[in-house]
């Protein structure tokens, strides 16, 4: 039961309500600019309209860039019991996503892989659509 809620919640974390989503992914993020980073979570912000996950990423030359990844609707997550430290700062993650059209270290988050190998979202069949 807990696992179901966790999975549902984690799915929500990334993407709630696509057909009636707050705004169109494709106008803001570039599907031809996929990105994958490995880094350390610095914080998660439950600001509307989207939650954001901040990740420190070491570049090849050793400098650190703080990336931010857009996640799904925060209020739904909060109602499921998520807190700002549910993904704790300091967690090593691998995140994939699609870069913002305007560029910069900004992307729409698609999947998050945790150190134990669990993926927070990886597609597959969905529970009944709730429109």
């Amino acid at each position: 039961m807990k696992l179901c809620i966790l999975v549902a919640g984690l799915a929500l974390l990334l993407a709630a309500e696509p057909m009636v989503a707050h705004h169109a992914f494709a106008a803001e993020f570039d599907v031809n600019k996929p990105v994958k980073v490995n880094g350390t979570v610095t914080k998660i912000e439950f600001t509307n309209p989207h939650a954001w996950l901040y990740v420190d990423v070491k570049d090849a030359d050793g400098t650190t860039t703080n990336w931010r990844f857009e996640l799904g609707a925060p209020n739904a997550l909060i109602r499921l019991g998520w807190k700002t430290d549910t993904i704790k700062a300091g967690t090593e993650v691998e995140i994939t996503g699609f870069r913002a059209k305007a560029g910069g270290p900004v992307a729409n988050g698609r999947s998050i892989k945790l150190p134990d190998g669990r993926e927070l979202f990886s597609g597959g069949s969905a529970p009944t659509a709730d429109r």
Partner: protein
Amino acid sequence: MRLSNNAAVLMAMAAIVLMASAASAQSVNRLSDSQPDMQGMYTRTGVKALEAEPPFNPIDPGEKNPFSVSNREDGLGPYPRIFGQGGNVLRGGQQRAQRRVGIIFPENKKLPWRPEEDVRRKQFLLEMNPAKDLRHIELNSRCALPGLFEGEDGNNPYTFLQPPGKVVIVYDYNHTSRVIDLNRREHLGKQVRLFMGDSIGHWEGNTLVVDTTNFNGRVAYSREIPYLSEDLHTIERFTVADGNTIDYEVTIDDPKLFTGPWKVAGYFSRAAKDVESIEFACAEGSQTLQNIFGAPPAR
């Protein structure tokens, strides 16, 4: 004791009135002024729907769009098939009632577009990605007031309040609210233009009938119908079906864009008792316009 004819007739009439009001009162609670009580928090379902043969939409992540990320064969994409669980959470896991949803008139869902306006709308959609200019950005991406149709229903409940002389609907989405005046018969003057329109209402039995005009020509019906005109006139019917459900039907009459009215149905299901509103501050946290256009020049 024999009753006079008049007295007998009066008693019969009284009995009929009592029975009639008892029948309706059985299913619907009433406020002290005998209005049906629709107060409380609800999720909304339906209302937005696809017309028959929806147009190509370059910003839609849905199934039919060949450009959609969701249609990529590797199954990647940001929103592959996980729809909002928010509604279930808001209803405390209770199954919602099965009611009418979507476009109910015309039955074939072919909306009566004026041909030239349909052409314009399709061209407009094409210019939304890449966005040609600010005008071609969805209102939801701008955190503007959503009008009557957009409210991110899967995750955001609606609260109905009935203070004296009004019905007030509060959307969690973007802290939106509308006031429906029950004691006014005339709309505001034509120069007043509003995202939410100007609503006046009255009760017909258990149905709140709401007449709304004075729209500003910017609000969308859906992603595929990105604007309705200033001439939009809606008639909504909120029918208190029982303590947990409000049936909803709206007639959309926009003579600038369509040759006739069309109708959409949906419904509201009561949320679980312990659910509260959570602030949805939109503009304060939105990065959308910068992510699309880049940061605007400093002032």
